[in-house]
Symmetry: C2
Subunit: 156 residues, 2 copies
Amino acid sequence: MHRRDLIAIGELAARTATAVSAIRFYEAKGLIEALRTRGGQRRFLRADIRRVSFILIAQQLGLTLEEIAAELARLPAGRTPNAADWTRISTGLRARIDARIVALARTRELLDNCIGCGCLSLRKCGLYNRGDKAAQRGAGPRYLLGDHAGEIAEVE
Amino acid sequence: MHRRDLIAIGELAARTATAVSAIRFYEAKGLIEALRTRGGQRRFLRADIRRVSFILIAQQLGLTLEEIAAELARLPAGRTPNAADWTRISTGLRARIDARIVALARTRELLDNCIGCGCLSLRKCGLYNRGDKAAQRGAGPRYLLGDHAGEIAEVE
DNA sequence: GCTTGATCTAAAGCTCACTTGAGCTTGTAA
DNA sequence: TTACAAGCTCAAGTGAGCTTTAGATCAAGC
């Protein structure tokens, strides 16, 4: 592992189109690790570009940083992850995407029915009973749709 | 419009599986309006169940409350929206869903390629150039993917 | 050696979407 | 008529995910 293989935080940020502050934040949260120069500056492995990329994709799929950290923890400690390692955890993302698409298709179908009747509120359509947690990811503690099975919106 | 047609905030909340505080919050943000009893309590129209339902669905699709307010503003003022009115703005949601599905399918395809090569970072795959803004909705000001066309993550 | 841009830390700030709490008032069922 | 659940307001708090600020240090080219 030579100095040549190490990149500065600015470069990692540029390569992943992320803010430098975000990289530091991810490090603070334990999603990535950094070596340090004698002067105290962070130096990352090239492989960390891949790691940050994973973080970004997973975020788009609605995982929290905590969940992403848990996924990343499954990568081997002590050595640079290889293709097989990445394949393993990327497959989890693929499953997420599949689930998301299915949920959206279902919402679309239900909405189509509702466009027909104009009801949008649905004992009939059941548009809310989807339990689509990923889609619900936003800020703050929140009353989640799907956490209240049985309490279905309806219009009389 | 008789008293009988009006519902209390608790009922609106129950019918839409939302918290009472959330309903008040939406009112404060201008997404819904309430009449008041002489004593000052809110009374909603039954049609507001539909309105809140719309808010919830739109949120799942990644719209901010501000954007949702803009959509709702397209409903007729002064009269209860009819089926045609709802159809018009619901169609906008359908388009969003379609776009979202297409974007996800693309991500999945790209990820499949990457699972093959283990790269996950991709000049090759271009996984980041999707400009999938809806998926990026989270809290706070943020460095958005897709806002930096050209700055594509890559591994050498 | 000097300059200049990159990086450092720590703490505070910010947005979004709500929730919580305190203290008080309404409205309805018995 | 009275109990009491439900509602009211206003202010502050929450949590996720970062950004900003300030003041100091580092590293690399000339």
